[in-house]
Symmetry: C2
Subunit: 243 residues, 2 copies
């Protein structure tokens, strides 16, 4: 991987974006080392900003930092997936309830969500990975409606996790019914616009549960059986092993 050695805009944040993309594209795989000198040569920049970018990605959980031993791309596992969905479900519920109240008081700004929704609709037919990205961005915009910055931030972090899962757990995301996904999102959005807290939260939790089910679909019976050992499956997602 050499990136473009052209000196494009290179703040640590932008460097982190490019390295993150490289990881999500699959250029770097879990366990791969990120070597500072290598990266700084590629970007045509000194090691300082690269170090900072690496630490930003470590804070996201995308890579792991080992003292004096550099950074390696983190390897997600199934437990991580379930935990991330659990976080999205519970924090998302709070944010969505909050958004409903805001709507009832007539102070909900839906321009961002609407924009992300139209982007999502366009993305559904095309490239599956792009569809997942658009999906995650729409969901984040939905949660942002709650105007709860700390919850939004935590939620946003889990979006990166999901991207990583889709990439590295080799989910067959092409198999997912993206149209149904969009419908479920729109349903939550509509409920928020109606200011109906109970309905919106129910639809949201149901949506996450369905996502978990779809997530598991491509796996073997053995792997799924193992997943069902996890208490999260009953306690949080309330899904049964259908096979």
């Amino acid at each position: 991987m050499t990136f473009s050695a052209l000196p494009s805009a290179t703040t640590p944040e932008l460097l982190a974006d490019q390295i993150r993309d490289a990881i999500l594209i699959g250029t770097y795989k879990p366990g791969d080392r990120l070597i500072e000198q290598e990266l700084s040569d590629s970007f045509g920049i000194s090691r300082g900003p690269i170090r900072e970018a690496i630490r930003l990605l470590a804070a996201e959980g995308l890579i792991e930092l080992r003292k004096n031993r550099g950074a390696v791309v983190a390897a997600p596992n199934f437990d991580d997936v379930l935990e991330v969905y659990a976080i999205r479900m519970s924090l998302g519920s709070i944010a969505i309830a909050h958004a409903c109240h805001a709507q009832k008081h007539g102070l909900l700004d839906t321009t961002v969500v609407n924009k992300k929704l139209s982007l999502l609709k366009k993305a559904v037919g095309g490239n599956a990975f792009a569809a997942v990205s658009a999906d995650l961005e729409f969901q984040t915009a939905l949660i942002e409606l709650g105007a709860l910055p700390r919850i939004t931030e935590t939620f946003q972090q889990t979006a990166v996790d999901i991207s990583v899962f889709v990439r590295f757990l080799e989910i067959r995301y092409e198999a997912a019914d993206h149209q149904d996904l969009v419908d479920r999102h729109v349903a939550v959005f509509d409920a928020i616009l109606q200011g109906d807290v109970d309905k919106a939260v129910d639809l949201w939790t149901g949506h996450i549960r369905q996502s978990v089910r779809e997530f598991m679909q491509p796996f073997s019976d053995l792997e799924i059986a193992e997943l069902f050992e996890r208490p999260l499956m009953q306690d949080v997602f309330e899904v049964e092993n259908a096979r």
Copy 2:
């Protein structure tokens, strides 16, 4: 603030610990700037590691980073408090439920919690700030029983927030009934040891709600009335304005 200019162990993490302590002790107040040169002189170290420490603290949310304009100590507000309690309540519930299941399968290691509990019991009589610290550490240990690393990490972050609130929102934490606090904790712990999911989660959510009530106590009626405008109060904490 000069810290000890002696070259004590100075990895970025330890530097962050010392700066965090300085903030929590009140040496730096919300809005104060952290100047890299100043800090590096104090610690007798170059600016590199200081920069990294500052960015670690920024990731914790303790300070705010403004591009090209340095770092300032973050100023918490009441909305932050409510949000943080909401996060602790919902993620904590998941972790505690998980811990109950582990207990039922006989694979719960309670040595850390027990240690933190005895430290907490000792701390209750003495310095109020130390008692709050011990309290937070015990709660973190309790959540760690769930063995859900991402949830634990997010929870741990909120512990720093609470410390900041107690310091900078000038909570009269001396007024809190620390013995009652310990009793509520022990009750949750006992329920986990019994493997009783419903009871443990109920006690936990009840405990957080009570904490929110106690947190508000020192404030004026006007401030409290304002707090009750927040949807979180009804939706998440289910507390009524008693005054």
